[in-house]
Structure formats: structure tokens, C-alpha cells
Symmetry: C2
Subunit: 300 residues, 2 copies
């Protein structure tokens, strides 16, 4: 399949997705064009997904990889409470992968994009010895209302959505629901939008493990944290997996005691796990003991 | 160097760049935030630059690679006449590359970004067995004024900026000024903005060779093209290199005979090379004979 054929294919597949009135030019020119609405902020994030680093071709279907590549980037929009608008994808693939693989990748990606009301607006294509997918996501929030990492205040409660450790447990066992969670993570877009409307004080997504990500949130907010309650650990996962396991893509957030945080958003449970305190920025205690930031360091 | 150290380094380096009032949140959170000005369109493009595909570590310094990765993406903004606003970079690098390499890469990238008035607003980092850099660029134009590929009309003249074939000749010989053009391409941002203000009818950048890129422009505009004048061939380059060689990153554009196209924009020469005609969409004649689209197909 030549490049023009792939571009035609993707253009056709992408047309089935939801249109966005802000995206006035999609696939087919040198750039995508966004015509912004007034009083809105637009958010941008990119995440690179690499063969043999984030997935293997043996264990993930083409559609799994398309889904996961977009899910990782969508999770960053969810973290800041944004409504998805459009995405771009740079894709490099080995020559040995057949056309059906390329179609499967875009179908997996576009199926998640459609579910989240997002347009595929452009991208880049190249041949390479391994699969590389870089996903750029754009989302929107009302002006000034994005949930930042830097807003946590001493006295705020700390919460997480869903259950922790499923993805790490899935990766370790390759079994059942936990493996499915690892292969097809569900970005918490709906929950992120609800939390932004609720007026939470700070938030981020759990991509590299609670211990490391909570430390990052505390560093940005110049506070420390006490985890003093039981964690919502996924079925069969260990405490270690829940504390340090990466790729859960749940949301970690803080809210003032005055904020009325519900027990669930849709069917997704919300659990209070501790408090923000004054003290050494970035320091995290778990049931009274220092919690080392053992999560996934991309350069470790 | 751990991930947090690299993020700190990049944050520090990026702060020396020009601030953009539209970019209200840069590096350090889950997303970058753009607060758009009214009556402006924002343009987005991404381009992936791959070790042993677009460069080798033997022939390109870290700074060359940072420069080139950004230049390729900036050239797409130039093609549409946009003023650069911000960029994001996803970077994957092998463990064996030293800290000084990482610094060199960002310095090369940020030096070009600063020259073009662009902020580095975020990105992603990963370890991989090869260097991969995906650059996302955002630019702006007054509402509805981006130069599209689809605007060429029969009777319009066809023009190119600069000289053709230098990059292909440089790659073939690895010598002198032509090699320098290959390693450090100069995106024609200033010329693109000038052409947009002039009201040219269509345009794109020459990344994959005149024969293939002119065909693409004609396909989008549903017209054919006659190249009937001598091409501005770079010193020592061959006609073949000028017609089919990739990575010149000059601009190809069309303008109505009523448009007063200057002979130069700054010091950059502009050359009329032919005319847009009615006929089979995408067909290109060179001095009366069909020109095969032999340029660089990323999947050929």
C-alpha cells in the first residue's frame, strides 16, 4: 500500500467520526485548522507509544495498539477536565505489516475517538523497523477552568477514581479482566469533566503509579501528602501493584473539604485516600511511613 | 539522567524562548493550554523524524537532529502562511546516548524555535533502541486566510521559492553547502507569511520532491499543471534532483495572473515555473511531456 492509498483510507475512515465545528480543515492539507470558540481554553498533549516498550505485536492486536495509543493521550485531557476535540497521529510501521494491520490500528483508534466525540484531523506516516505511534490530543475547557497539578492546598482531601493496580497485575499475569485493563485502558474523560465542574482543587492521571504521580502533584502544588486510608485495590492485585504500578489511567485529584465529592461518577467509584498537608514539597507518607516514589520512570 | 531531571532541564532551556500570550500553561502539567485570540485560526501539524530513516547519528549532531525535526514541521506551517506559536516534542532515545546529546538536541531545537518566535510548550519522553522525535507545531493566521492546497485555478501561474535539488544533491555527495542544506533545512516561514498576505491561490511545501508534491497540489485543486520554464536548480545539482529530490523545504505556490508576485521575498528568489490548466486532476507536464511522480513516497 502506497502512502496516498493509506491517506485515502484514513481520510475515509475518519469521515465516519463525529464532526467538530471548531475543526475547519482536517486530513488532506499540510496542517489541520482549528477555529476556536471565544472564552474557551484549548489543551494539547502528546504521548508516544513504542513497540516492545509499551506493547508487543504478539500480545496486542492492531486495534488494541490504536486504542491504547489514543487512550494514553486522552487520559491527559481527562486529567485536566477537558472535553476532547481532535487528535493527530504520527505512525511509523515496518514494511512486513500487512494492510489489514494498518486498517486495524486506525479502526481501534477511531472507535475510541468516536466514543469520546473526537475528530482525527491529521498526522504523519513513515516506514520504520518498529511500530511507533505518537498521539496528539486537543481538548477544551471554559476559560481558566482546566484542573491543574498545582492547585492542591493543605487540608484538601486526596481522592482516586476506580481501582488501582489492575494494569500492573494484568501485565504480570496476562490473565482475565486485569490483562484486558492493561491492553484496553479506559481514559476517564467523563469523570474528568464532572470533576472540573465540581471545582476540584488539583488533579492528574495515574500513568506511572500512585507513589510517583502523587509526588509529582505535591511538587507542583508545593505541599506534602498523607495517605491514611485503605486504597481501592483491584481484585487480585497486590498493595505493591496499587501503590507503584503504572498505566491504570485512573484520576488522582484533591478537593477542599467544602467540595461535595460524590461516591460515584456514573458507575465509577470515587475513594478518599488521604489529606494534603504543609511540609517538604513532594513528600508522601503512606500510613505514617515515607512512601518511596517507586513508580515507572521513563528514563530509569 | 532520570526523567524528572530531563523535564527540569527542558523547562529551564524552554524558559529562555519567546513567551506567547496565547500559551497560558507550558511544560509541567498534563497538557499545554492555548487561550486563543478572537478571529484567528490555529494550525496544527506533526512530523516524525526517525534515526536511520531521516538521519544517522554518524552524520548528524544532536543539535542538527533537533533543528531538522522542528524544521520539517515548521515547514508545514510555512506552507499555509502561518505565524508559529508553540510546539510539542515527543522524544525517544537510546540509553547509550549521554546527557550532552539530550542537551544538544534541545538546544538545536530551541535555537530554531527562538528564531521563529515559537514556545516549546510540552511533550513526552521515552527510552527506545533508536532516536525518534515527533514534532507538533501550532501556528496562527487571521480567520479563513490559511493557504490551502485546494485553491489553484486554471490560468494561475506556478511558482517556487529558492533553489531546488540542493538537499538531494547534498545527500548524494555529503559535500559543502548542499550537504549543509540537507542537514540544516531552513523552513520558509517568513516567505509563507508574505505569500499569505499577498493572497496567493494555493500552496504547499516541497518535502517529497516537486514532481510528487505538484501532483498532490493538483489533485487537491482538481486541476493539472504545465511546467514550461527552466527550474531554479541549485548549484551542482542535477535536473533529476531538482524535479524529484526530497527535503528541499522550499515553497510551491500558485497565484492568479492579477497577483503581483515579487521577484524576491527578503533575499529569497521567487521563480515562475509554469501554469495551472484544466484537465485530468493531478496530471503534470514538464516541457510538454508527462512528468512521473517519482518523488519520495514514505511507503514506497
Amino acid at each position: 500500500m502506497r502512502e496516498t492509498q493509506i491517506v485515502d483510507l484514513v481520510r475515509k475512515l475518519a469521515r465516519t467520526g463525529p464532526p467538530h465545528k471548531e475543526v475547519v480543515q482536517g486530513i488532506g492539507d499540510d496542517c489541520a485548522i482549528l477555529r476556536p470558540a471565544p472564552h474557551q481554553d484549548f489543551l494539547f498533549t502528546c504521548d508516544v507509544t513504542l513497540e516492545d516498550r509499551h506493547f508487543t505485536l504478539d500480545t496486542h492486536t492492531a486495534a488494541d495498539i490504536g486504542h491504547k495509543a489514543l487512550a494514553r493521550s486522552l487520559s491527559d485531557l481527562a486529567a485536566m477536565g477537558a472535553e476532547p476535540v481532535f487528535c493527530l497521529v504520527s505512525l511509523a510501521i515496518p514494511e512486513r505489516l500487512a494492510n489489514v494491520w494498518v486498517q486495524g490500528f486506525y479502526k481501534g483508534l477511531l472507535s475510541l475517538a468516536a466514543k469520546q466525540g473526537m475528530t482525527l484531523a491529521g498526522g504523519d506516516l513513515a516506514r520504520f523497523n518498529k511500530v511507533v505511534a505518537d498521539l496528539v490530543c486537543c481538548g477544551k475547557v471554559p476559560e481558566g477552568q482546566a484542573i491543574l497539578r498545582s492547585g492542591a492546598k493543605p487540608g484538601d482531601r486526596i481522592y482516586v477514581t476506580g481501582e488501582l493496580g489492575a494494569s500492573a497485575h494484568g501485565l504480570a499475569t496476562r490473565l482475565g479482566k486485569a490483562w484486558r485493563r492493561h491492553v484496553r485502558p479506559e481514559p476517564r474523560v467523563e469523570a474528568g469533566i464532572a470533576l472540573r465542574r465540581l471545582g476540584v482543587s488539583a488533579g492528574m492521571d495515574l500513568s506511572d503509579g500512585l507513589s510517583l504521580d502523587l509526588r509529582r502533584l505535591c511538587l507542583e502544588s508545593k505541599v506534602r501528602a498523607d495517605i491514611d486510608s485503605d486504597l481501592p485495590i483491584a481484585r487480585a492485585a497486590t498493595l505493591e501493584e496499587a501503590l507503584h504500578g503504572g498505566e491504570d489511567y485512573e484520576l488522582l485529584f484533591t478537593a477542599s473539604p467544602k467540595t461535595n465529592v460524590p461516591e460515584k461518577i456514573g458507575v465509577l467509584p470515587i475513594t478518599a485516600i488521604g489529606f494534603i498537608r504543609t511540609g517538604t514539597p513532594g513528600r508522601v507518607l503512606f500510613k505514617g511511613r515515607p512512601l518511596p516514589p517507586k513508580g515507572f520512570d521513563h528514563f530509569g
